[in-house]
Symmetry: none
Subunit: 509 residues, 2 copies
Amino acid sequence: MVQSRMRRKGTPNPLFEVQLHLAVRGSRESARTLYRELKDAIVEGRLLAGAQLPPPRQARAYFGVSRNTAAGVYERLMNDGYVLARQGSGTYVAERFTAPSTRKELPKKTAPDRRLNAFWLDPNVTAAIGFWREQPQSTASDRHSRPIDFRPALVDPGLFPFDVFRRVSARQLRGLERKPASFKSPQGNQGHFYLREAITKHIAVTRAVVSQPEDVLVTSGAQQAFDLLARTLVIRDETVVAIEDPGYPPLRIAFAAAGAKIVPIGVDDEGLIVEQLPRNVGVICICPSHQFPLGMPMSARRRKSLLEYARNCGALIIEDDYDGEFRYDQSPLAALRASENADVVFYVGTFSKCMLSALRLGFIVAPKWALATLIAAKNCLDWHCSTPIQSAVCGFIAGGHLTRHVRRMREVYKERRQLLLNFLHGELGDWLEPIPSHYGMHIAAAGRSSVDFDHVAEALLRHDVKMHSFSRYFLGPQTRTGLIFGYGAADLSGLKRGLVSLKQVLRSA
Amino acid sequence: MVQSRMRRKGTPNPLFEVQLHLAVRGSRESARTLYRELKDAIVEGRLLAGAQLPPPRQARAYFGVSRNTAAGVYERLMNDGYVLARQGSGTYVAERFTAPSTRKELPKKTAPDRRLNAFWLDPNVTAAIGFWREQPQSTASDRHSRPIDFRPALVDPGLFPFDVFRRVSARQLRGLERKPASFKSPQGNQGHFYLREAITKHIAVTRAVVSQPEDVLVTSGAQQAFDLLARTLVIRDETVVAIEDPGYPPLRIAFAAAGAKIVPIGVDDEGLIVEQLPRNVGVICICPSHQFPLGMPMSARRRKSLLEYARNCGALIIEDDYDGEFRYDQSPLAALRASENADVVFYVGTFSKCMLSALRLGFIVAPKWALATLIAAKNCLDWHCSTPIQSAVCGFIAGGHLTRHVRRMREVYKERRQLLLNFLHGELGDWLEPIPSHYGMHIAAAGRSSVDFDHVAEALLRHDVKMHSFSRYFLGPQTRTGLIFGYGAADLSGLKRGLVSLKQVLRSA
């Protein structure tokens, strides 16, 4: 086999090369083989239009055939229209035969699907997984402006200090160069040690969670944390997992995939209604600081009874603290994990909100008895998180940039939040009532009247406004109606315009 | 990990077998571990009174320890009253230590462990997950030099062009700033579109695999690809998954975790022995270009019959092409996925070998009918891979840097490989015979004599040399003995020193 290198014409970069897989050396049929291989490479798009073939005098080096053999093959390819000769310049792949890949898959759509695990084909699963999927395209005629996006949990990358992050990244990459070959991330598959240390400091300050680097496992975002916890804490077809309803659909899919028996539990103004938990519950998933999506914090009374309940029936608690860095009021409530006797709590944090979701970085603070198992499962899932990203985020936190960014964003969000509350209490007060909350990047507002908020959300799309109604967050029957006002993505003027559009829609509803 | 099969004495049915879960292979404490495991099995009733232990001469195949080690352990068990020796007949479990119950649940170490999914506590699983774990610390007095590491699949970051990668990373981060808020990686959860495009070009050139960006799913390394495929292609307790034996232990754990019925299939000089595949096989996992760890390519004849077999019985194939970029000989064999009618093949590639494992980036080229499901499962696992890393690798490939790096490393590896082959054919020729291979970053050499290569590997640690013997790669009985010579981590002088140490050890073995 010969590795043929061909330069693509017009490409200034001499490194663009095509390796052909030619087994022609020493073959008596070398001409026929070379013809077929070149033709296939052109038809299949591996050799693109304009690519230059090696000159016949180099045919020996490229293809292992004689100059004359190559010249004869080129002539045949030219006659058949696959290549063109340019006077004094060489032979090039012709335009008209360059097709994108032509190889087709078998059209047996139904038959092979039987080979897929049917779980993923369940419409409930695909719907929940597609939860964040974009809503249908706007039909608004004015396409100049970007849509105003009120969906919760979105972050505007325009406000992220990329310049700082770039500098920190580059510096951290320099550190990586000096490490010896290893199968581990520099500081173990549990996650970069200094990142874990930085995380413990960060959550001690922002969430009063006391932990040590040994208690932390770095994950690819909160979603991987849920998947990992589901795969380690759930015994298939046996473990009962309680989730908040309404709640975060992608979390429940991770647990459903692990074979959990999922039980939706209602929430009221004090958060999860502990009294509704079944006796045989094994795992309880909650967002005690900022219920998702309704926003109310779990009351101190409920927290206490939740911890007692869990302890009495041997259940574990997963605390999803997705936006606890952004606190606005004098709320006395820290993370549940910061409570007394919270050693049954698995605390899940994420950098998706306080930094960027695109980083895919989160973490679990786990009870010590579970850590070895979580690390083993993480190894089976993907060994460890990408080291350059871990290093960069570690440097970003250690350098004080996260604290600075969170402080700055808290001010930005505070202003947006105030604007929203003014609108909700004022101009929109006939239709909506905001649910009190202290944290985060969104406010939920319950409907006062019998307005169909699903229709409102649809109508808003025609105004180029994206907004979620409550309905998509429910697993059981929908007990409350209303709208979610995320303020991570849109700026003040955008929010204003969006709220004005909402008022219009509500008026005509 | 060893599944030891023992026939119960006096039971006419040869199918009555006891599986021991012994994780003793390659351990310096093999005698102590074997003693403890056998004792536990007897005390817990997993080995019943009258059961015959395998003769010490078969200890290698059953336990992965030497004949002498096993004989010593049996003697100790006899002294302690657990077993009896019968003249000229063998060793049997004694009556008085046999408990009435049969197999017990895993020992309950502490109360909370009951809440963990027991799969992850199985010693077989933890052993296979700990596969890449560092061997015990060297006891060599000379701690000035870094250990010489012959383990396969390691890459020396000292040869990676970090300066280029840094530049490319920074440039790509600049591009990210301008994206609007989104829940997707800029180009979708399937992976960065331009990275998928760059991957299709890369594998077209290096592996003759024709694909389109739509066919590619970016994963967090090959390990996530295996986990993802296991979770989508396996139906729990139903799907039969064939793996190569010897093979890559972390792959089989991903499939075991998904509930696959795993069947080890032997390999010979032509690769996987297709004739051994069971009729009801659902998924076949192979490394056709460079068998892991033995190195032989799968012959054209076998490839053809494998594809036919898969097609006839409706099975799917997972092609793990972990180091196909590094090709040294005139091998006419490209990737299996590049064959005619290879649309049942899921091709798994990785940037761990041709770039760096710490990036945690790999990909699947999947048949079209399976892609939507794979993407849905990927979303459930962790949404998508970290965007800055995807962008950086994309820029690295598109800028021609990967091609340049691979070309450079191929020269580096070629020289190391030649040195190794010279030693193996020369000074080490009395003990070892290299297994022919054309690809990659390691060579396997089969033992010519009855040397105990586990002991050799242990003895090498005292010379500050890390080397794997074959034993740890087997799931079933070990059919071949020998050593693996990875040349990704050590340079020429290191390799030389290591090989000289090996010769010393072999001489005194």
